[in-house]
Amino acid sequence: MSFFGFEQSNDLENEKRKFLERGLSGANQEDVAVYTWGEESYDGLGEALQEGGDELNDETFGATGDIGKDFDFSGTALPEHEQPTPSHAAHLHAEPPQRQLSQTPQKAQTPSHVEFSHSSQLDAIWGNKSPFSVLPRSNGSNRVHDNLATQPSKYASTVAQASPVNRPPSLNLGPDLHQGVHTLEEIEREMRAAAQAQHRQQQSQLAEQLAPQSQQQAQLQLQQQMLQQQHTIQVHGTHGLLQSPSRTQVQRPPTVGSAGAAAVGIQHAAATPPPRMHPHSQSPRFHQQQQQHQIHLLQLQQQQQQRQLLELQEQRERHERQQLLELQEQLKLEELERQQRQLRMQQQQIASANELLHNQLLQQRGISPSVSDRGRRGGVGRQSPAIMNPPIPIEVPFAQNMQYLPQNIQMQQRLLAEMAQAEFLSTMQGPGISERDAREARELQEMLRVEAMRKIMEAERMEEKRKRKLDKIAHMSRYNDLMTQSDKDFITRIQVSQLVTQDPYADDFYAQVYGAILRSRMGIATSEDRVLRFGSGGGVGLGLGQKIPAGRRQSALQRMEAQVERIVSNARLREKEKASLNSLQGALGRTSGRSYKAAPRQLLQVDASNASTSPTTSHATAAHISKQDVSVDGEGAAREAAKMGREALATATDGLVRKDPLTHRESLVILEQLYDLVLDIEQRRRDQPPPEEVEAFEEWTIQCESLIDQLFEKLKVSVPLETSNPHPFVSLITPIKGKKILPRVARLFDNTRMQILLTLIVACFSQLDVVQSAPRLDTLEETQEIKDLETQTQAFLSSVVQSILPVIGRAQMRLVTGLFGILLESNAVAIARTRPGIALLTLFLSRVEILRHAAQSGSDVEEPPTAEEMQSWQMMYNLLFDLLRPQLHLLFPSVRLSLLAGVSFTSIPNADVIDQPVWQFLSTLALHANEEQQQALVTGLREIVLENVASATKGYTDGEESRRLRLANVNIFLHALGLDASQINL
């Protein structure tokens, strides 16, 4: 049933045409039609379709043979078939008795024949529009019946099944017909009956003809035809013939006349009451049919079960087919051939499915499997398995290929292009005129080709490069414009806000100082600090400033500076605006808290006033060490006063408050305080207000003075000498940073304080670490201790001696003599064997020489040395000379080292460098020496001088540098005596 739609479109027309060709005249021609239909036009669908329908028909019809009206609808599509109905009406009357009587088709033959002639006439009248336009199929069904007739017992059910299916397409009953006396249904029935009768005649004729034919052939035909949807009429006809007499009698007694024609429909109605059944058609036979019902109930149930099974099967098949169709749709690129093949395949499938059904049916009916097999073979055999079966396996891989196609196409195109190129090139080479020419041409072309290839390659490479570059740029520019200008400004603001400090100079201290030093070295006089100051006291240190040569970086720096300035000024402007409430006018709901201050929350909220955790403590915020000290001073003022009083008392009573010398740690602590003070004072000096602001200037001066006083006091310079040994001041300058602070302090102190300081140093000279541990330096070892000592000595010479140098340079004769005397009081010889001692002695001697020279020349010396002073000086000098005279050669470190090491002093490494200060000292000593002393000097140093000159002139030295230095050293001394190394003859 479900396949009705399938066939109608294709087959109806064909068959109609065929029928017409055949002509309406003869049933004789039916035979021909059977064959043609079976072989050529038959597409295998009909078979399958009818089988499926047959099952259902069997159920619906059952033995009742009652045809419901639900099948009417299918026939309405073809109005042409109405016409024959009236003609058959009469024929129908004769039918029922015929059925009852006839057990075999042969018997029924005669009456049907008569009627057929009648109908043929009518057909002639109505032309093409007979219901038999679809006749070709009827042949099939005819054969079926013929065939089945041989097995009458089982045939009935089969026929019943097939009949309703066949009927609908063939019986097309238009509404026009019902204008007559009969009701629509009656007319229909009549029509059907007429058609039935006609075909029965044909059928019977066929049966007659076929009877002598071999049973096999008949069976084969039967198989084919059974699957076709041919008219119910035929089926019914045969049905009637085949039905057992008992049954037909039960069913059909009332079916007489016109009503008898309805029997077929009623059969249907009994089995499955059609929804559209008309009451009046139903009423007369209903009660009779009730009996039928009961009889057939069991049968129906069985059939229903069967049907359910079949339906399931069918569904499965349909599903399969659907899948196939989907597959087909996917492969849209296929051409007609393939479509056809598919169609065939589909058909085959259906056919095979139907065969299965058929088989089942046959088995049910007890038909021998051979028959069904044959049928199947017939169906399959029509299409070669080679065509039928492969499509699926073939098509599937192709479909897979399809997916790769796009890529392949590219490849193919490229290959084609290459091939074309090759071809082109080969044709270019072409056939040569002569062989040589050809060869030349070929060579030329080869060259050209190579050249071209090279160029192409190059171009490709360039292209590649360019592409890569572009890719890179694209890659890099992924994040372009991710930040707006305002975003950038925002971040810059955050960064700048981190840079702004209260004291830009101090926070940028090292860069500032370094920059200042650099500038002074380069001769650029800029007293200005490289600091960007803001009105509210904040500022940004700008670092070294533009030392960088002009270029991109500089401009970048300038830009940055400008930007910072702009941002800061903007911020300040905003701040100002914020401060004034006026700015809030009209800003209702738009005032943001402090969004522009985007500084991150500080992890440690330390009060800046008393915390200075970092060593770079800004002096502006006043290091707490000094502060603390001040407060301590305040707190313990009484105690301090008492102590000081006692000290004063002690001094007064010529006694001493002896104290333990400062421990290393104490001196370190004091030094830190000193550094804080120094830094503070230095900062204040930088912040010097202009002298015009008298008040501020005065205040500043007073503050500075007090600070300097503090500093001086802290240096413990004025503490009595005897307080401790070493003196506190000596303890303070023992650490290297203590020595290094002196030059900075010296700048702050006035001359008086510096003289006190100098005196103290001289007085405590022997207490100095560098002096005390100096002998340890006379070693060739290289230990950490020696190295540290060396560093200390260097620091002393460069810091302490440098800081007292100007003081000595300004010192008067009296002071110098006094200091000289103090120095000689202690162990002069020992001091003279130290580098600091030599340096100090040299300073004094040279200063005296300068003073004396100045006095002799009568130049403008403030305080020319008096004769008394000169005399005392001479005394001092003589004392010194006498002290040094016995062991003059031991003044030389190289000599001491050589004694220690047991080698010649000339072979002491670096001897010239370490001996140089001593030569200088000796030269100054020689300047002051009188004739006798000079003689003593020469005799004392004769050996060393000679040795040095000899080694220098004879080239025993390490190199030219060393030789020159050695001679220079000797000459320093000899020149003082009015001699020269060149005068020495060895």
Binding site: P615, D629, V632, L668, V669, Q673
Partner: protein
């Protein structure tokens, strides 16, 4: 002198005293340094000059009883060194004899 009169308020003040002094620094990973302290910060990052680093390499000899490991000492010297603070265990003035 008590601590307050020294102006020692926090541990870093003690380290400050050692500025430009020779210090002994113990580091993680069995390393020790001696050098002149030039600068430090709150993370105990240090800048040292004239540094001698001592590295203890403990070699566990195969089969030797527990605790019997040989300690090799490697030394090296650097003129200037930045010490990251997270490795610093101890900073002290060198012991004075």
């Amino acid at each position: 002198m008590d601590a307050s009169s020294n102006g020692i308020q926090e541990p870093f003040d003690l380290i400050r005293l050692s500025l430009s002094e020779r210090v002994f620094v113990k580091l993680r990973g069995d390393r020790e340094l001696t050098g002149v302290l030039h600068a430090y910060d709150g993370h105990m990052n240090l800048i040292l000059s004239d540094v001698e680093e001592t590295i203890m390499i403990v070699d566990h000899v195969e089969g030797a009883p527990e605790g019997h490991a040989t300690v090799n000492i490697a030394k090296r010297k650097m003129e200037m060194l930045f010490v990251r603070g997270d490795g610093v265990i101890l900073v002290s003035p060198p012991s004075r004899t």
